[in-house]
Subunit: 532 residues, 2 copies
């Protein structure tokens, strides 16, 4: 009944919108999203698709963070084995743990364990979805034209195979740049830095050694993350499943970056670069924020947010930060819901939420203190505001490295930094003009494009729905075994031929030598013996 | 004086056009073109750039084939050491030789020698340009914003370095896919077929062996073609020059293909795929051709052209072809300037020129007999007309293979085919509906794009002029030596470490063994000797 109601809602929204836009596209898209910040980019694309008259069904776990109702899509809700309190508790622990001290030897293990607090929950979500007979039967009957998913975790990837649907992936590249790793896009370790290494594309020899080894370690991480999903897929599909082979079936990869941000590297024809979809034209500020900005005077403002995943900072760290913020002449707008640090200076305004893009787009924005998630980085780029980066987890350390390499910001280790470090970093990016110039250069390069990234994303989702896939973009590499792909059988064969030729040539030489000189030798010998 | 006149002409055209379009872009582009069919795509882009208000100077040898005057650009003419008769004679020989019989063992040599008839002349053209003090001084004083060239031969590439200009290349990929070979774009020989092999992207084991070897041979061909230019570049630049290093400085590669035509493979972020710029909406036919088409009745027409480079066909071959054409019910419009074959049937109309795209765009077009140059192929794709392909030289054999693999046409060996072969091929592509369906599918995929390829090409030339290059798209691979790029130093180092660890571990074991058992052994021995 609930399904019917949702379907009806979706239908009525589609009819309303198509009447509004004068065109019934009539395509039906199934969306398997990733909750959390990943959803934000996907939502923008879905809303635009809905406005173009497509019918959209989003698969939503009954307990979730951001997957709210919308007039743009119908939600198909499925049960999960945890409650709202557990979800919030896990996210809180996840956020909090980024501030716990870690040591060189256990850093990787700590990071992995912390990620698993949330990732483990997502596994339960996926397991619940793929075993929910009601949802599966709804999906089988759904007659969708394509599936749109975030492939950071493979639930949507498996469902596309189950439903036999062409698919479009929306992805930042984390974890493990699996858009390249799983799809055989060449990634020479000599200049393509691996995640977590924090290297740039110009590496020293020891860095290249580490990067080479990191490439091998990636396989272990991928196995740890995904092997369990292979079991889920096997149960659902009734056959042994190789997860990379499923990922290779993606028709289009919409990559949430471009090469103003990411280092240039080999890519494949079915990858479309749509970095910056989240950048919007800055709107007029509300009275509250307009008042803050106006009061900031000639010094302007600094915007400070560590994103939606981090609500609390340990008190001693918050005090260190507050101390640093109090030492710059700018007004700081700090999005923070934790306990107010007792040493908070007058120039620092704590807010529960802030219109980040609109503030960054204001001419008085002087710097942006960010955790360097890809959305924040792009808002910094779009609005040309120099960055002070306090990366916390995931791709954030590597994102920060990319912007630092381009001279558009300064990175600090949030665990190790002192109050003075933050103060200096802020003063540097504000007063050293090169930072502003560099981020303005990136901004102008990023904005100078033949088509808006959001339009490009929408185009390719529609393309896949129209043509039932994009098999003409599928490289033949996907039909080769690993040793064929690397031509190892060819090299082996050629080596065998060369060795055979050398062997035969040697044999011939020996034979010829014996023919020519063997008898003479013997003759000579016999002469000699006669002489004796 | 002549230069001034040209400059003035260019200026007045630019002012006129900018007034017409209401925007003075004010950028100045230097064009170093390649004469012959390559020029056709470049001309389209230049005309659009001129219409957008840019000032364009095209470097033109005083003796040329297609580089005619135009209101869209100023020509800067430089002297060459040959006359019109020699030029035409070389092209005639080049065209004619494609019909001379060749044998397996000397095929490559014959093809190379034949190409050198024209390529050798282009070398003289380039030599003359790079040694012409007047032209060089004109260029140095020109204050250009960028250089636009066809890099099939490296004259423009060298000039970009000499003038210190950012550059945009327009290229089909022939010879030797140098957009990948020279720029370190990974091209696994297991599924990326080499030119001249006529392989598809799905190769058998023997084909993969041949393709692997062809990759090695490519280097020899490149050396044969380009080493002489390194001397020219050294003389001009006053320093030893590595030609691939110059090619790597290209800011943008505009590739005259897309992946409806080409096999999907790794590419680089500074490559833009603009296949199909030459396709235009079919115009209304002239009275002469309209009459032919109308008279063709329900059977429709077949369009036949071997391109602008081939004017004559040996008589016996022309008769074979005429014989086959007479055996199909369609009216054949054959662009042919040679002697009329005596057996020409009534359904075959010989014309000196034909509006190829407009005829292919007519609903009565049933098939297109083409030499499968990339322009013709794209006109076939755009208009959805099945192909009978008679490839003659260069990339044409490989182009034909691409279309044949997609079931959109049939390839014949023009030297070996009989009249019956051609007749059968025509009947097949016309009567077997799969050919029409396949090329219509390619057509719909090719035409379904977010932006027109010509607009995309113009955008990127303007981008490079606006930003004085596109260094943000330059991969760090270009700063590595060959052994660093392939991580050979890293692998060597790690192997050394592994060997050292094994060696030390073994030594330790031996030492420990001796410590533990050595004495006992000796003790036992001494016991034994005592016992004795």
């Amino acid at each position: 009944m609930a399904c019917l109601l949702w379907a009806f809602r979706g239908l009525s929204a589609a009819v309303f919108l198509s009447a509004l836009w004068g065109a019934v596209a009539g395509d039906k898209l199934l969306v398997v999203p990733q909750d959390g910040s990943h959803w934000l980019s996907m939502k923008d694309i879905i809303e635009r698709l809905s406005e173009k008259g497509h019918e959209i069904v989003v698969l939503v776990p009954e307990i979730n963070l951001l997957l709210t109702e919308s007039r743009h899509y119908t939600r198909k809700i499925y049960p999960v084995p945890y409650d709202q309190a557990e979800l919030e508790n896990r996210y809180r622990s996840f956020g909090k743990n980024h501030f716990s001290q870690r040591w060189l030897l256990n850093a990787a293990q700590t990071e992995y364990r912390n990620n698993m607090i949330v990732v483990g929950m997502y596994y339960l979500t996926c397991q619940s979805l793929l075993r929910d007979a009601d949802t599966l039967s709804f999906l089988r009957a759904g007659k969708f034209d394509a599936l749109f998913t975030d492939p950071a975790l493979p639930c949507g990837v498996i469902l596309a195979e189950y439903l036999g649907l062409p698919s479009v992936y929306l992805f930042r590249g984390f974890p493990c740049a699996l858009e390249h790793t799983f799809t055989r896009t060449p990634s020479p370790s000599s200049y393509v830095p691996r995640y977590y290494t924090r290297f740039s594309d110009h590496m020293t020899f020891p860095q290249r050694v580490a990067n080479f080894l990191a490439r091998i370690l990636e396989n272990i991480v991928l196995d740890l993350l995904y092997s369990k999903y292979e079991d889920l897929a096997r149960d659902l599909l009734g056959t042994q499943v190789d997860l990379p082979a499923l990922y290779r079936k993606a028709d289009i990869w919409l990559m949430r970056y471009d090469f103003v941000f990411e280092f240039p590297r080999p890519v494949m024809p079915n990858m479309v670069f749509i970095g910056g979809t989240s950048c919007k034209k800055a709107s007029v500020l509300s009275q509250e924020f307009e008042a803050y900005v106006n009061a900031s005077g000639e010094h302007g403002i600094v915007v400070f947010s560590l994103g939606s995943m981090v609500s609390e900072i340990p008190e001693h760290k918050a005090m260190e930060i507050a101390d640093a913020l109090g030492k710059i002449p700018q007004t700081v707008l700090w999005r923070y819901t934790g306990t107010v640090p007792p040493n908070l200076a007058k120039n620092t305004k704590l807010v529960k939420w802030l219109p980040q893009n609109d503030l960054l787009g204001h001419p008085k924005a002087r710097a942006f203190i960010t955790h360097s998630g890809s959305h924040g980085i792009y808002e910094g780029i779009c609005n040309g505001v120099p960055l002070v980066m306090l990366p916390l987890f995931g791709d954030q350390m590597d994102n920060a490295k990319r912007m630092e390499t381009r001279g558009a910001g300064v990175t600090l280790n949030v665990l190790e930094m002192t109050s003075k470090d933050l103060e200096n970093a802020l003063k540097t990016v504000i007063n050293d003009k090169s930072y502003k110039e560099n981020i303005m250069r990136l901004s102008s390069l990023h904005k100078d494009r033949p088509i808006e990234p959001l339009d490009l994303a929408v185009f390719w989702v529609e393309f896949v729905m129209r043509h039932k896939g994009a098999p003409h973009l599928r490289p033949a590499a996907h039909d080769l075994t690993w040793y064929q792909y690397h031509s190892l059988d060819v090299i082996g064969f050629l080596l065998a031929v060369i060795l055979a030729v050398i062997f035969i040539a040697l044999k011939c030489c020996v034979f010829a030598y014996r023919k020519c000189f063997g008898k003479k030798g013997r003759v000579k010998k016999s002469h000699k013996s006669k002489a004796h």
